[in-house]
Symmetry: C2
Subunit: 132 residues, 2 copies
């Protein structure tokens, strides 16, 4: 089971790297540092730019930099960008078929697991990943 997908993973690493750099960072640098396919990395950064987590500068000497403080870049937000809303889906049967009618026990249990997960997840920021 996957908590995060590759693009989320790569995005987080890129963000961590950038949080330690002063000026602009290019795709080329990241590709070299992180060993990720270049076009894939580009796509990821472009997405982060669209979502206002990065800002970009075109042309020679251009590149990317963080738009907001690493302390305010939450992992759940990055997950949301690349994986959609973060949470655990419930059951698949339509309500009127569910053997436990309205108060489905399974649903509740899953919901509770989800809560625990989110509680921990929400504390993770790029800043918290970088500090050692």
């Amino acid at each position: 089971m996957k908590l995060i997908t590759r693009n989320t993973d790569y995005a987080l690493r890129a963000l961590c790297y950038m949080s330690k750099q002063e000026g602009l960072v290019t795709v080329g640098q990241l590709v070299q540092k992180l060993d990720v396919p270049r076009p894939f990395m580009r796509k990821i950064l472009q997405q982060l730019n669209k979502d206002k987590i990065l800002e970009s500068y075109k042309g020679q000497g251009g590149g990317f930099k963080l738009k907001i403080s690493p302390k305010k870049i939450y992992m759940v937000e990055i997950m949301r960008v690349f994986q959609g809303p973060v949470g655990l889906n419930g059951c698949f049967l339509k309500k009127d078929v569910c053997p436990n009618k309205g108060k489905c026990v399974l649903r509740k249990k899953i919901r509770s697991i989800e809560e625990g997960m989110l509680e921990q997840l929400r504390e993770i920021t790029v800043a918290s990943l970088v500090q050692h």
Copy 2:
């Protein structure tokens, strides 16, 4: 993000239903009760049979019944049957490229979330799902 897939879901419902029945239960009954495609339900039950969670009886008047007590049928086990080992995968980069070297912070955080999840998951049995 999916905690459980459809076959796990359907399997759990089928098991819940069977835990409340005395004798044998046929695919036909389950299909009717749960509104799941018949061949899909068959496949699921056959799998549960292979994994010794159900026992089956062929021929006219045949069907399935639980092989072990609902108290001993753990949700994680059903998940394992249909989804493979339960847990959260870590990161994707090979170790020597990981920016945080050996002690990857992300990995640890994910591991911790996984622990919390498993702790809650391990308590769920078919019996615990049926009681209201």
